[in-house]
Amino acid sequence: MPREHYLNATYGIRSWLLTTDHKRIAMLYLVSVTFFFFIGGAFATMIRIHLLTPQGLLVTPETYNKLFTMHGVAMIFFFLIPSIPAVLGNFLLPIMIGAKDLAFPKINLLSWYIYLIGGSFVLYSFSTGGLDTGWTFYTPLSSVYSNSAVTPAVLGIFINGFSTILTGLNFIVTVHTMRAPGMTWFRLPLFVWAQYATSIIFILGTPVIAITLLLVGLERMFHLGFFNPALGGDPILFQHLFWFYSHPAVYIMILPAMGVVSEIIPTFARKPIFGYSFIAGSSIAIAVIGFFVWAHHMFVTGESTYAALTFSLLSYLVAIPSAVKVFNWTSTLYKGSISYDTPMLYALGFIGLFLIGGLTGLFLACLGLDIHLHDTYFVVAHFHYIMVGGAVMGYVGGLHFWWPKITGKLYPEFLARVAAITLFLGFNLTFFPQFILGYLGMPRRYSSYPPEFQVLNVMSTAGASILALGYLLPMIYLVWSMRYGAVAGPNPWPATGLEWQTASPPLTENFDVTPEVTWEPYDYENRPDLGLAIHGAPSPVHGDD
């Protein structure tokens, strides 16, 4: 380990709370998003225990409604959306492009404080009456009828939006202006492409949700008739505005995870990624097309048939770039030198779960099926496969991949593999039965249900307990490794990116001298500096670039 690095360069609480080092800010985010993950996870645990019996085991319907609402709000706005960008992206993006920091280090710190302020409002709402509108805040339920603490919650999410916007802005400017010499656009790691695409959604989408929720607050406080039909408003208008952001928000959650997987797979197959430009381009395609599919959440609101047809077709189009990624990742394994290290288990697990999550999206994009499946447990299963099976697996996999870089220490590999496999199995047992529940017609957001649905619900709860174990295990050994883990060295895997060219943990300035990039991404063939045997490989086959 280097004698001096970003963690020990300065000491004291002030040196953390006033830091402008992107790596330290990433650590601040790591702690705060983990906090919200625990809160959201605790709500999820109570939900699953409650649903063990048809009448509901644990809480009143009123409390149950608050549990699933607060689970959604905590997980989506304060864990999933910031998780990969604000933690891994913050830490890695500047190092990956050979920069000393983000373009606006102080704004980066400001983002975190805004996140904290927004989070405080939401925690205030949770602890003073709770929130029972569903994370979707549908009007006029949220703006007129709910008796829970809606106003502080929407204010909190409104404020938090600025944190997201500033992070996106910071990333975009950094990628444009701060790449090291030789780091051309098509030499960027695919993780950077994914962060860039995500940042586009951040700055274009977030203002819409922020304003929309503000309007809900105004309607609640001052009875201005935006959405309440009794005041001349239109409740469907809310859904258009809400999904205009919240569908792209799904891509905010999944794109960064796809970026993580695109880093892990070539590293542990030790070969260039298959179809680099197609994976990079598909990130941008998802970000752009993702803005034009929102009304597929509204096929049964009575929207016009022509609108429904248009949005169904566009939803099928946005599936194609995701398929392209999966095909390319799979092909990257072909003739690789594949290892079983923990990050690779997460990446392959991601492919399996994202595959199911993505493919079941085709069922919901289908107009004829959506009239049956809409708002059933099929939808719940689908988006958890994307957001937990995809985004969270990507995040946890990414944490394992870069943990040696972030902390300079290795975690216990065997335990980590056990945790990865536990998560994969527990996840499937939790959420696969919910597809069947959905087709059988069980509505989502039900605190009690007809008895014929019980067996599948019990299976789901059993899976959730395994899943919970799978999350606790890494929390324990990752923290343990910070003190007791073996020293990792600068490049333990070894991987090709610039972040692996510097010390672990990196210096405050990231690099002693600004690196100059003379190689293509994931180019193991031309990297004698990695100390690998490049034996018996045939001449490179170039088809893509």
């Binding site: 319907p61 039909p229 169904s312 809409h374």
Partner: protein
């Protein structure tokens, strides 16, 4: 009623077999890809596992033909899913002629149903087998959703306007219906049963439980008088507002020259937002009744206006477009 299959609910409407066939088609395609890709991942994982710690893989950068193939083939398959799904959906959204019209009102947290005879039910819906049934959906408060899994259909119930849905029950029995749009505290309790009956049984059930005091046309007539509609909407067309005789279901000529079908939604809008559509030849004088009538009262009024269908239409009748005036 519980289905015999653990994987899908009863097939009890005209839509159920179509939706299930579509489900099987998409499941087959998706299962093929899921299995094929998972198998490839597992096969590569073991076949190309690292034998020596310093090994690297073969540098393959991509293949244009493969990229083209795995863009084109999924796209074509996706388009077939879209097309088939669109056919089923358009069939569902296009209402057939000749329907049995039933009003369904959602309110936190119960369903009120009104049969064509005016018979009312709560959290129950009786329908005859083999008949096209149209539900006219209204909400007193928040958004609800009327969903019958055994029929494979649902529709949101949105405050402020009517939505409609239809189905043709194909199998007698009792089936769950659910509120499927989260609507507040007792959302999970806002359900009930659809009873599909043989037509004879349905007719007997309707007449057997008729209740003259709850006749909505009578209630509507009283409301019509109480709300002072009568002085303007004179039946002979001599009032300041058009006569409503025969207006339900007719084409109404508007001041801007267009015509509109006087259906439930039009009548509802004309009561709540009278300025939205002005009948040709009349002044925009009518006040809005927004906030003064419940959804149930609106349905009573509509039922009353419907009952005027058989009354003689005056010469200056509600701006009803002359039959020759349209194709």
């Amino acid at each position: 009623m519980q289905s015999d299959s653990p994987l899908y609910p009863d097939q009890a409407s005209n839509f159920a077999p179509n939706v299930d066939a579509l489900m099987i088609y998409i499941t087959a395609i998706c299962a093929f890809f899921a299995v094929a890709i998972t198998a490839a991942v597992i096969y590569f994982f073991f076949k190309y596992r690292r034998k020596d710690p310093s090994d690297v893989g073969v540098p393959i950068h991509g293949d244009m033909r493969l990229e083209t193939a795995w863009i084109a083939v999924p796209l074509l398959l996706a388009l077939t899913m879209f097309g088939w799904g669109a056919v089923v959906y358009v069939d569902y959204r296009r209402l057939p002629m000749d329907t049995l019209d039933i009003y369904v009102i959602g309110k936190q947290w119960m369903w009120k149903v009104q049969q064509p005879t005016g018979l009312r039910e709560i959290n129950e819906l009786h329908v005859p087998v083999g008949r096209n049934v149209k539900l006219i959906l209204a909400s007193e408060d928040v958004i609800h959703d009327f969903s019958v899994p055994a029929f494979r259909v649902k529709m949101d119930v949105v405050p402020g306007h009517y939505n409609t849905m239809w189905f043709r029950p194909t199998k007698p029995g009792r089936y769950h219906f659910f509120c499927q749009q989260y609507c507040g505290t007792n959302h999970a309790l806002m359900g009930g049963w659809v009873t599909v009956m043989e037509p004879m049984d349905y007719a007997a059930w309707l007449s057997g439980s008729s209740d003259a005091t709850a006749n909505p046309a009578v209630a509507g007539e009283k409301l019509f008088a109480d709300k002072a509609c009568t002085p303007c909407h004179l039946p002979d067309g001599s009032g300041r507002a058009p006569s409503l005789n025969g207006v339900y279901g007719a084409q109404v000529l508007l001041a801007d020259g267009s015509t509109v079908t006087a259906d439930d939604a039009y009548i509802r809008e004309s009561i709540l937002s009278p300025q939205a559509k002005i009948v040709a030849g009349y002044q925009p004088l009518m006040p809005s009744f927004q906030g003064q009538l419940t959804e149930e009262q609106l349905i009573d009024l509509t039922t009353y206006i419907k009952s005027l269908q058989s009354q003689p239409v005056p010469a200056k009748g509600a701006g009803i477009a002359p039959a020759t005036g349209k194709k």
